[in-house]
Structure formats: structure tokens, C-alpha cells
């Protein structure tokens, strides 16, 4: 982005490099030649293409702080940010609700597959004194059809989205909401299996589907 844009008062057009990192400690940022899913989703780091909150007031400038800083002034990530409160399709501030349904031209938020009430963080943002605390993000999905064959794909897309968007101290648990899906257990087990998820994302067909679902997020 051109230098002149950097002074633009409109926060929604802040250049990637200007957005402060929400990552919790610089020492933990891992930029490498071949980061896991970058090729699928974003050519940049998560906080660039998918900033969690475009309100610049919540960001603190961490540029000059020490590596072992604790971003005490920064608000912890909460459920609303993960869901994408205040749905506005023209903005790119939403993590989950804007993911597209693999079959229909609607988003997961629109058809209530992802619901704010079914996203839980533990420990809750208020309890997280140390930003390095491992935090569980539990997302219970409600597939639209009982025998939705695409439940696994949707779950995978949600998991991929969160893995890429959240700092590394987040542990993501994606499940089918109790009773909403006939093969809950199998799907949940599969989605919780790191090795299977990693292998699935190396499958070109599946990768294509997920890429398409996530197009509406950026």
C-alpha cells in the first residue's frame, strides 16, 4: 500500500503494516517461508487481512514495547469478535459468521450454523491475566440438516479460519451441537484430530472447497 495511505484517517483502509499486532508477544510470532495454511487463506499474517476489530481505539501501539511485554491495555479477544458481531458484509471484521455455506450462497451466520451463543472461551476474557494463558475456543455448530454430509467440511473451515486468525495460545475445539447431527461423535473426533486436519488440508479438492468458503471472509 502506498505511503500516502498510511496517514488516512479512515481506519478501515489502514495498510496491513500499520495494523498493530494483536499477537500476544512478539517472541511468539513465527514468520517463515512456508507457514502452515497461509497459501490457503491469507498471503499475510492474520491480523492483516482479518483484523478482529477495526476500531483503532482498542489497539495500542506495541511497536516500541519490549519483547516480553504484556499487552495489559489491550482488550482480550472475546466471543463477539470470533463470531463477528454487527454483521456487515462490506467489512472484513468477522471471523466465523461470514464464512460461506459450501452449498448455498449464504453465510454460516445467516443460516445460523454458527451462533454467538454457541461460542465459548475459557478462561473467559476477564479471567485472562497473563496473555500467554492457553485459551480454549469452543465452537458448537448447528448444521442445517440432520444428515448434513458437509458437516465435516464446515467444521474444518471453521477450524482453519480460527487457527489462522487467532494467536498460537488458542486451542480450538469445533463440535457439532448436541443432537444436531446424526454422526456427531465421528465428526467431532475427526475435527479434533490434529493429524487428520493437517492431512485433509493437503487434499487439493478439500482445500479448494474451504478456500471458496473462506473467500467471503476477506
Amino acid at each position: 500500500m502506498a505511503k500516502s495511505d498510511l496517514d488516512n484517517a479512515n481506519p478501515t483502509v489502514l495498510s496491513v503494516s500499520q495494523l498493530p499486532s494483536r499477537n500476544l508477544a512478539k517472541g511468539h510470532v513465527r514468520k517463515g517461508p512456508d507457514s502452515k495454511y497461509d497459501h490457503i487463506l491469507f498471503p499475510k499474517q492474520w491480523w492483516a487481512g482479518s483484523s478482529l476489530n477495526t476500531d483503532p481505539s482498542v489497539w495500542t501501539s506495541d511497536e516500541d514495547e519490549d519483547d516480553d511485554l504484556t499487552l495489559a491495555t489491550e482488550e482480550p479477544i472475546d466471543e463477539q469478535e470470533i463470531y463477528g458481531e454487527n454483521y456487515d458484509p462490506s467489512s472484513c471484521t468477522y471471523l466465523l459468521s461470514t464464512i460461506s455455506d459450501p452449498e448455498h450462497p449464504v453465510t454460516l451466520g445467516q443460516i445460523a450454523v454458527v451462533r454467538l451463543d454457541d461460542i465459548h472461551l475459557s478462561p473467559s476474557p476477564a479471567e485472562r491475566l497473563d496473555p500467554n494463558t492457553l485459551t480454549n475456543v469452543e465452537v458448537d455448530l448447528t448444521p442445517t440438516v440432520n444428515h448434513c454430509s458437509l458437516a465435516t467440511v464446515i467444521g474444518l473451515a471453521v477450524r482453519v479460519r480460527l487457527e489462522n486468525a487467532l494467536p498460537p495460545n488458542y486451542r480450538i475445539i469445533v463440535r457439532m451441537k448436541d443432537g444436531s447431527h446424526a454422526q456427531d461423535d465421528q465428526v467431532n473426533k475427526q475435527l479434533g484430530d490434529k493429524e487428520r486436519v493437517a492431512a485433509a488440508l493437503e487434499n487439493d479438492t478439500l482445500k479448494g472447497i474451504i478456500e471458496k468458503m473462506l473467500e467471503t471472509c476477506v
Binding site: G27, D34, E202
Partner: protein, 466 residues
């Protein structure tokens, strides 16, 4: 990334203190998820699987030795070094061989011919003193020195684990296709120094078994090491070959496999108890008192580590076994109808104190000290010690339904834990290996731990026991 170390002091019977301190990570940093790091059985080398390749690090310089690339189209999940076969000498002894298991459904057999690179090898073996900086450039050209000499095809889905039997005769591979394959190395089995010139590159493998009894992905395979107990007086009657293979699965079970008198590989035991995917299995490599049969560890998504022991055979069975003891293979031909009774009885004799919150991905059992170390998705590294032979049961065991029932059950104590051993990242693998770096007081003898994480860091840890 200051790792937070806590030291716990053990109460009686043996007051032991342990301290785990991080050593400098291997360089370079891999900057991407690394799955596992496998130390060479005798040389100061360790092979780390990451993305489509394997990076071999030197344990003396703690830096990159060579890279295996271009052989796999998807991630390499596991690797195994070929153990020394019999009394090898000459060129055979200088050849490195590594097998890789990949998500691309194949296993690759890689060969590094040391013959032409004696100097390099010597440099690695020579416990070097630190003035080798200019050799950094040479490392680059090392990348093509590994040759993919054979591709083992057969699995339908991702290969998750590969492991050599202690003699190097067999290789086991396992996959998401729910099967375990056993391959036999039939290429140039007796390399005599005379014929070697022409035959040394001959690779030939035969599939000797395809085992399909698991109901889910097979996550890991491990061969029982060749310790005295494997053939000791407590070993089961010798109707089977010596090799024992354990497999861990997504179906929550562990299975044990042996070759019967007809050359068929059969499942001799199913170990049930885990309430989630079993991520791995590890055999006891330290000889036990009275040459008891090695025990087996299993761990998994249920956050539990279990110790399994072979139930000692009944007296009469035992007698039969002893009678067959002189037979160097598997004794008597047994009719198919009797096979059922040949199942081995294994029981869970201990459950380790619970430390991890989240999947346990890897546990390493020291052949030197008998200490256990575990890692998992919670980023914690935990060290455990078996308390002296006692009938006292672990309190944690009791809540688990599967509490050990026999007096052979030992207790286990947590010696110490390290939180955030790879910062906020998950840790995929842990192994014990010998230290050869300049900082070691007893090179080639002192043991250290090496952890491998999602952050692409391969980190050695000094372990001090008092």
C-alpha cells in the same frame, strides 16, 4: 520464551530431584510445524520431519547436517533409521539409511552413501570443538547427497508412522487406511565385504503382511526392542517369532502382533482402556529384573498414559515354553483351531499421574534411567519416575475404573514439569537421546530430551537428576 521450570521433590522411598533446563535449539529454526525428531541409534544425528522434507541435525554441532527433499509430495509425518544389521563392516557400516512415512501414501527409503563423504562423517563424529563456521556453505550442497532409493507403495491413505524391527529385518508402516503393513528387507541380506562393490545399492523389499483388524486410522507402530526379557523365561511360549509389533489406533485400542509358526502375522492381544484416539505406543527398552518381558506404554487423546504388562504365563504353559526354548524359531506347528488360545494376556498395570490437559502426543521412555517424559497439545513437558517396586497403588488410578489389580503394579511420580516448553505452541514429539555437544560433560553417555513443536523449533533439554 522463558520456559517456566518447577522442581518437585519426591517423598520416600527414593528422594529424587529433577531439573530440566532448555539448551539452545537446533539451528536453523524450521519456521513450520515439525512432527517428530528421531535420533540415530548410534551416530550423533537426529532427523526431524517437517513439511515435505526431513532435516537431519548434528548432535555435536546442534546445527543442520543435511536435508532430504524432493521425495514426497505431501508432509512427511514420521521417519525411522535403519538399525545396524548384524555384524556390518566396511562400507555397509558407513551407509546411512532413513525411511520416511508421508501423507502422500508412500514410505520412502533414503540412502546416504558415506563412502564418498568420509570427511564429512568424521567431522560429525569427531566431537567438534567449534571452529567450523566456514562449513556452513558446504551444508547447502549437502542437500542432494541423500538419494531416494526406493518408494514403498501400497497404502491407500496417509502413512502415519514407520518403524524398523530391532534386527532391521522388518519395517512396519501404518496408515489412515486402517492397516498395518509389514515389509521384509530381502535386498542383499548378507553383505560380504567382497561382493559389496556392486551390490551395495540393491534394495529389495517384500510385503509379508497386511494387517487390517483396526477399526480406525493406525496412528503409530513400534517394535519391541531386543532386550533380554523378550526371550526371557517370562516370555510367552515360543510358538511365535521373536519380534513383537504394537500398533496404536484412532479406534482407541492398541494391538500386538506376532508371527506364528506358519509365517502368518497374527494379532495376539487387543489392549482396551483408552477413551480416545491412542496417539502412540512405546516399549520399555531397559532390561527388567529377572528378564521379565518388556512393558508397553500407550497414550492418547484421553490425556492418559497407561503402562501395560504381559501376564506371566501359567505354570504348565511356561513348562511347554521352556521345552521349546532350545528351538531357535517358534517351536511347534499349531493347528488353526488352537490359535484362539494363543492370545497373550496383557493388563494395564499402571496409569501415570495426570498432568496434561489436552491430547498427549508423545511419550519417551529412557533406556538408561527408566524415566518417562511426555508432551502434548498443552505445551507442557512432564517427567515421571517409577517409584520402587511397591504394591501401593497410584491414587489417580483408582478413579479410572481400570485400576491395576496385581501386585506387580508400580507407582509413578511426577518429578517435574515445564510449562510452555515451546511457548504457546503444541508439542508433537519428545525423545531421549545422547548428548554429543560441547556443553556435555559426558559426551555420548549423558542423556538429554529433545522436543519438537508446531513452532518448528527442535529443542534439546538438559535433565539433571539427583
Amino acid at each position: 520464551m522463558a520456559a517456566e521450570t518447577t522442581t518437585a521433590i519426591l517423598a520416600a522411598p527414593s528422594a529424587t530431584t529433577a531439573e530440566i533446563t532448555p539448551l539452545p535449539a537446533f539451528s536453523p529454526d524450521l519456521y513450520q510445524r515439525a512432527w517428530a525428531s528421531i535420533p540415530h541409534p548410534s551416530l550423533p544425528l537426529i532427523a526431524t520431519c517437517h513439511a515435505h522434507s526431513v532435516t537431519v541435525f548434528s548432535l555435536s554441532t546442534l546445527s543442520k547436517h543435511s536435508v532430504l527433499t524432493g521425495g514426497h509430495t505431501r508432509s512427511v509425518r514420521s521417519a525411522a533409521w535403519q538399525p545396524p544389521r548384524g555384524k556390518v563392516s566396511g562400507k555397509e557400516a558407513k551407509r546411512l539409511r532413513l525411511v520416511t512415512g508421508s501423507f502422500d501414501t508412500t514410505a520412502g527409503v533414503w540412502t546416504w552413501d558415506q563412502g564418498r563423504r568420509e570427511e564429512r562423517l568424521e567431522r560429525e563424529i569427531r566431537l567438534q570443538s567449534g571452529e567450523d563456521n566456514k562449513e556452513a556453505e558446504e551444508e547447502e550442497e549437502a542437500e542432494d547427497e541423500w538419494e531416494l532409493t526406493l518408494v514403498l507403495e501400497g497404502h491407500e491413505n496417509e502413512v502415519k508412522s514407520v518403524n524398523y524391527s530391532p534386527s532391521g529385518q522388518y519395517l512396519a508402516t501404518c496408515s489412515r487406511d486402517k492397516s498395518v503393513w509389514i515389509w521384509e528387507d530381502v535386498g542383499n541380506p548378507n553383505p560380504s565385504s567382497e561382493e559389496e562393490e556392486e551390490e551395495e545399492d540393491e534394495d529389495e523389499w517384500e510385503t509379508v503382511a497386511v494387517l487390517q483388524e483396526h477399526d480406525g486410522d493406525v496412528k503409530a507402530v513400534a517394535w519391541c526392542p531386543d532386550v533380554p526379557g523378550r526371550k526371557g523365561k517370562y516370555a510367552p511360549p515360543r510358538r511365535y517369532g521373536d519380534d513383537v509389533l504394537a500398533s496404536a489406533s484412532y479406534d482407541n485400542t492398541v494391538r500386538l502382533w506376532r508371527e506364528d509358526g506358519d509365517g502368518e502375522w497374527v494379532c495376539v492381544a487387543v489392549l482396551e482402556g483408552h477413551e480416545g484416539t491412542v496417539w502412540g505406543v512405546a516399549w520399555e527398552g531397559r532390561p527388567r529384573e529377572n528378564d521379565k518381558f518388556p512393558r508397553l506404554l500407550s497414550w492418547g487423546a484421553d490425556e492418559v498414559i497407561r503402562v501395560w504388562s504381559l501376564k506371566e504365563p501359567e505354570e504348565e504353559e511356561h513348562g511347554e515354553g521352556a521345552a521349546g526354548g532350545g528351538n531357535n524359531t517358534w517351536g511347534f506347528g499349531v493347528p488353526n483351531t488352537m490359535r484362539r488360545s494363543l492370545k497373550e494376556e496383557w493388563e494395564c498395570t499402571a496409569v501415570l499421574p495426570k498432568v496434561h490437559k489436552g491430547d498427549i502426543y508423545s511419550v519417551a521412555w529412557s533406556t538408561e534411567t527408566g524415566l518417562l517424559a511426555s508432551v502434548g497439545s498443552d505445551g507442557v513437558l512432564a517427567l515421571y519416575q517409577e517409584t520402587a517396586n511397591t504394591t501401593e497403588k497410584n491414587e489417580e488410578n483408582e478413579t479410572n475404573g481400570e485400576a491395576p489389580t496385581t501386585t506387580s503394579a508400580g507407582g509413578w511420580k511426577v518429578l517435574t514439569t515445564v510449562k510452555g516448553a515451546h511457548g504457546p505452541y503444541e508439542i508433537n514429539h519428545i525423545t531421549w537421546c545422547k548428548r554429543y555437544d560441547a556443553g556435555s560433560e559426558r559426551k555420548g553417555e549423558e542423556e538429554m530430551l529433545v522436543t519438537t513443536g508446531d513452532d518448528g523449533v527442535v529443542r534439546p533439554w538438559q535433565v539433571r537428576i539427583q
